[in-house]
Amino acid sequence: MPEPRPPSAVPALSRWRSVWKAFARHRGALLGGITFLFILLAVFIGPLVWTLDPGFADLRARNQGASWAHPFGTDNLGRDTLARVMAGGQISISVGLAAMALSIGLGTLIGVLAGMFGWLDGPLMRLTDLFLSLPLLPLLLVMMLLFNESLSALMGPETGTFVLIVSAIGLTSWMPTARIVRGDVLALKEREFVLAARSMGASPARLITRHILPNVLSPILVSATLGIATAIITESALSFLGFGFPPDFATWGQLLKDATIYLQDYPERVIWPGLAISLTVLSVNYMGDGLRDALDPRARR
């Protein structure tokens, strides 16, 4: 009989190291990651460098084109577009991240509950189906209109709208995650290691946190990445339709909406906020794509 091979001298890469290697080899994903990082830095660190106040209206410098004083030009009130795009990005990206976190949390919770406990599976999946057949954009608009005023009065216009938009988007976008997680949990539940853990008397809570969740982490991470993009687009759509933050908060959608009014005279104004939205969404989507390939050991070559 041949000798069992000794453990190889080269230590196996840890899971995350190998995932990172696969991710870095994916050109689109790496480029997307770098772009997203750049946008994050520009939006959150940028205002420390470019210190113009986004709300300051310099009435003598209205409707200006690109110049050294205002690289992106100014708007109809003489506000600096670069500063406004950066300030708007802070709101848009924060909304995207927070809404994604809420939606992933909800989706994971519902998916795990439905997958682990058979008696919850039916009702929770019917609930998911029901949410999937809701007309989301009309409902979001209605929610924004109905609750914006009272929440703004309660928490101030910025926090109120932020909380409302984040919860509205989160509450209407958890369904795909829940379905994916449920499917994976159902498959995992029958695997030997879960059976072994159960036969050793592991409580359901321990089963979920120690054995199930780490194994459904990859689909969750992928849908989290893609969720950021969807949330940013939804927030921008709401702002564009005039149902988002109050007009003086320059989110990207709001800037686009303001710019379309002057499309005929100053078409270049549409470019910056639009480009910001598209670049962010594009980079996040490429990241998600790369992450999906990197996290799937079968797809790795």
Binding site: D129, L130, L132, S133, L134, P135, L136, L137, P138, L139, L141, V142, M143, L145, L146, F147, E149, S150, A229, I233, S236, A237, F240, L241, F243, G253, L256, K257, A259, T260, L263, Q264, P267, V270, G274, I277, S278, L279, V281, L282, N285, Y286
Partner: protein, 335 residues
Amino acid sequence: MLGYILRRLALAVPTLLFIALVVFLLLDLAPGDPMAQVPLTVPPEVKAQMREALGLGEPTHLRFGKWLVQFFWIEPLVFTDHLFGTTFSEGKLRVLSWQHRAPVMDVVIQRLPQTLWVVGTAYVVGVLIALPIGIYSAYRQYSVFDQAGTFVTMVGYAIPPFFSGPLIIFVFSIQLGWFDFIYDTTHRVTDWESFKIQLGQMVMPVMVLSLQTTAQISRYMRAAMLDNLHQDYVRTARAKGLSETAVLLVHVLRNSMIPVVTVIALGLPAVFGGAIITEQVFSINGIGAQLIDAIRANDLPTVHTLTFLFAVLIVLANLLADILYGLLDPRIRYA
């Protein structure tokens, strides 16, 4: 199969009722006041009468019941009256829009053609462009064309209609001056000339909407083709000497279309959602613009009815997708 369809239809009814209830309660419990627009000089007792006249004084379940009867019983009666000249609905109260002081369904019928024209054309155009792209991308996987296709799809996902709309207006309307970017909803198609004008004003909104459709459908088409291209039956078809076109367009395509057809059916409501934004960009006086107007004007019956109609559309699309899947794929058996 018939039993399955009937069962699905029966299941759709409680779903729709529940959605109607959810939207109704959402509107009802909201703190917004439909009387907020009434001037302050109007005395409170007159305001109370107006409230009564709008039917706001009654308890919630009564008003929801009333809406159900009006929407599911009286509106179809009006429709049959309209078709056959009968008088079933005479003297019955219909769902009234507070904003227009007219039945909501009349407003819907008035606005729907604009939306259907644009959305319908856009969907057909988008699908027709997407299918060849998807097929060829899969056939030449990892080729330059495939890479470019992937990139264009990603861009299609990343450019939302409220950005692509202004961009297209800028290029085709302001720079090139080819089309007018204000959609003329009063335009009537009577002869060839006016038809050309109608086509001209539809080009830009259709471009915006079909970009989204193309991005999505071509991805699915490519994935479905790739799933089938390496199957044994394809090798068999090639081995018996069929031409490459026959293998691709008859054998592979037919099997790949099964999931794609369902995706096409499922995507239909999303285009109507996209139309809400596109109508705003091009000032099209359609159903989406009406929804936005109604929400702004606190016109609750219109908002409720329109939102419900969108829900009906989604449920029907889901149903259609499931039925098509069963019809197209003989491996699917419904017990």
